[in-house]
């Protein structure tokens, strides 16, 4: 599904990612952990196609295609989804209209008929219910005036509607209350199947109690310094990052 080889990325001349190697197969859930500023969001953004990053080396293949050659909208239509760490408020653009455009852009790309208003609303209502998203939020402008938790839930709601093949969740669990956390987890788990891949960027073991990852990676200073299974997350929770980073230096 996703094959990242020796990816090097800099911003304004500063090296942020310093040779990432990561393979995510269909059906797998990978958790990415790591200290603040280690490059987790940068990696997520680069996968989604945000401008302003300079890829100085390496490659990212998605379904065998060079992801870096694709516009952000093409990636989305091909099934890449980024749940933003900081979702943007877009005044004047209605949530439902926005989502309808997104859904139909993806459908059109896949050669499917666009959904009409009725079918679309049916889909929206069903998914809103599934992620317990307050329907009154749908009528508002995208994220405008949403609370932190509501914004995160809106990301999960969009993911549920768009049903991506590769979902990258950048700290979607941060700032959520316990109930919301459970809903996010349910949203992710219901999406989980042998055709889809999920990358979870998180600081907390807590989320991984609900979503069991197949792999856990530690990203530090632009490199993946340790990989393991879910027990690695538990160990990190107990002992912090110190021991991983130290061993890295020693190695």
């Amino acid at each position: 599904m996703l094959e990242i080889s020796d990816l090097r990325v800099s911003v304004g001349g500063k090296d942020i990612l310093k040779g990432i190697n990561l393979t995510v197969n269909a059906g797998e859930v990978h958790a990415i952990m790591g200290p603040n500023g280690s490059g987790k969001s940068t990696l997520s953004h680069v996968i989604a196609g945000r401008e302003g990053y300079e890829v100085t080396g390496g490659s990212v293949l998605y379904g065998g295609k060079d992801l870096m050659e694709m516009e952000p909208e093409e990636r989305a239509r091909e099934g890449v989804f980024l749940a933003f760490q900081y979702p943007v408020e877009i005044p004047g653009v209605n949530n439902v209209y926005f989502l309808k455009a997104a859904v139909n852009a993806v459908r059109k790309h896949q050669g499917l008929d666009e959904l009409d208003a009725i079918d679309f609303m049916k889909l929206v209502k069903e998914k809103a219910k599934a992620v317990k998203m307050d329907e009154s939020l749908l009528k508002r402008a995208v994220n405008e005036g949403f609370s932190g938790g509501e914004k995160k839930r809106n990301e999960i709601f969009q993911m549920a509607v768009l049903e991506p093949k590769l979902a990258v969740l950048d700290e979607t669990d941060s700032g959520l209350d316990i109930d919301a956390l459970r809903i996010v987890a349910e949203g992710v788990n219901s999406l989980r199947n042998e055709h889809r891949s999920i990358m979870l960027v998180t600081h907390y073991q807590r989320l991984l109690n609900y979503i069991e990852p197949d792999y856990v990676h530690v990203l530090a200073d632009g490199r993946i310094v340790k990989s393991g299974d879910r027990r690695l997350a538990e160990e990190l929770e107990e002992r912090g990052y110190g021991w991983v980073l130290k061993r890295e230096v020693a190695a």
Partner: protein, 458 residues
């Protein structure tokens, strides 16, 4: 004014002759104007004529006209429209109406009232709605204490000309506690002629104590060609009265549009003004509110959109003359192509106008690298216990917003259109009449980038 401007613009040589042109037109039509011989009306027209003879057209040396050159108006000798034979009916003007809005409608063609196209309907007792022509002829007494008392004929050459040629327009007078259920829609249509013509509509709204009304002024063109609209509207908002006023300017891009809106507010009155400027090659809007008594509230909202070589200028002035007044200005501009926008927001808090609450915001979106906007707040505050804020921004579409939309599969061009739509829609959403909002959103959708796709999305 400082003496810093070294490049003093030359007064065009034709200036004197162009002034003469309008003066001789005035001499010719003067004797045919309505209410001739009514001393105060004659006086008002004479004041306008004399002011124009003295002032001529504004030049870039006038601080208020620094960024807006009116030479394109000045260099054409616009003629007053003679008698019109109107050969069209309701169907022809349908695109300019608000079909689902139940309203009192007056239609004007090239500045003259067109009864066959109008439907004033039945008004509440205590309300009078008629053409200015008729009001001048039959009800001069009702006008005397208001007409020309607020909009100064000597303010500039344009208001001067308007006063000098004052003949027609709309007149709405509401007695105390009269509430109009339905809005009044004033539709000003212009049919360009072979030679460039000018109309000087003059409107007056007097809202008596505790009264309430909604008034919409629309300006549009029937056909293409160069002409000039030079309108002055006076709004007199009485004690505890509420007036919602809309100006929707969608004239052809070869037209010139110069407009003054002059409001006078009494104690505890509320004025909400919404101005939209989409059309004309040159559109200049002066919006002046005089908050002349305690507790008056004034909201000035505005949206301007220009493309190609259009030039649009809003000059607002809020005079906080008394304590406990509030004003909120919210203007947005969208400039594309090689267009130029100007916003100048003057807020003047007079000595003693304590507890004034004045907010002003002007945000501008530049869609092309050749578009320009000059925005300037002008705050003069002579009272100490006041709350005044202002903010002006000029920028491009937000890259984070663009990325968010694209990351959901929306095409880059469509995302730009959608964000532009959202930027403007925010002003439209502040307008209370749904049919007006609908109509404007519709127009907006024809003007944003990638309109074809954006249309299908909202």
């Amino acid at each position: 004014m400082s003496g810093q401007s070294t490049s003093v613009a030359q007064t065009p040589a034709m200036s004197a002759s162009v002034v003469d042109h309008y003066l001789s037109e005035h001499a010719a039509v003067g004797p045919t104007l309505p209410a001739l011989g009514v001393a105060w009306i004659d006086g008002l027209r004479r004041e306008g004529r004399d002011a124009f003879a003295k002032l001529g057209f504004p030049t870039p040396r006038d601080e208020a006209w620094k960024y807006t050159r009116v030479a394109p108006i000045e260099k054409r000798a616009f003629r007053l429209q003679g008698e019109l034979c109107i050969g069209f009916d309701e169907d022809d003007i349908a695109p300019f109406l608000l079909p689902t809005l139940a309203c009192h409608r007056l239609v004007f063609v090239n500045g003259r009232y067109a009864p066959p196209l109008s439907k004033p309907g039945k008004l509440s007792p205590g309300a009078r709605l008629m053409s200015m022509d008729r009001a001048l002829r039959e009800h001069a007494d009702l006008l005397e204490s208001h007409l020309g008392r607020h909009a100064d004929p000597s303010a500039n050459g344009f208001t001067a000309l308007n006063a000098a040629f004052m003949a027609d327009g709309a007149c709405l007078i509401l007695g105390a506690r009269t509430r109009l259920e339905k809005p009044v829609h004033l539709v000003f249509l212009s049919i360009p002629q072979e030679e460039p013509v000018v109309a000087h509509p003059r409107n007056l709204v007097v809202a008596g104590e505790g009264s309430q009304a909604q008034v919409i002024e629309s300006y549009a063109s029937l056909g293409t060609g160069t002409y000039w609209t030079n309108v002055v509207t006076e709004l007199v908002v009485g004690e505890n009265a509420t007036l919602d006023h809309y100006r929707i300017q969608e004239e052809h891009t070869r037209a010139f549009h110069v407009a003054t809106l002059q409001a006078h507010q009494a104690r505890d009155s509320r004025l909400r003004s919404h101005s939209v400027s989409f059309g004309a090659q040159l559109a200049r809007n002066d919006i002046n509110a005089q908050l002349d008594a305690e507790g008056s509230e004034c909201v000035l909202n505005g949206l301007f959109m220009a493309d190609g070589r259009q030039h649009v200028d809003f000059h607002t002035t809020v005079e906080h003359a008394r304590p406990h007044g509030s004003s909120q200005e919210y203007f947005k501009g969208i400039l594309d192509g090689r267009s130029r926008g100007v916003f100048n927001g003057r807020v003047h808090v007079h000595p003693g106008a304590q507890k004034t609450d004045a907010m002003q915001s002007n945000r501008n979106l530049l869609l092309s690298k050749d578009a320009e906007v000059d925005t300037k707040p002008e705050l003069e505050i002579y009272a100490d216990d006041v709350k005044c804020s202002h903010g002006a921004t000029v920028g491009q579409l937000d890259p984070d917003m663009l990325f968010y939309l694209r990351a959901r599969g929306i095409d880059g061009a469509t995302a730009r259109g959608l964000l532009t739509y959202g930027f403007a829609q925010d002003v439209i959403d502040r307008m209370p009449i749904p049919q007006v909002r609908e109509r404007l959103s519709h127009t907006l959708l024809t003007r944003v980038p990638d309109a074809e796709h954006v249309k299908g999305m909202v």
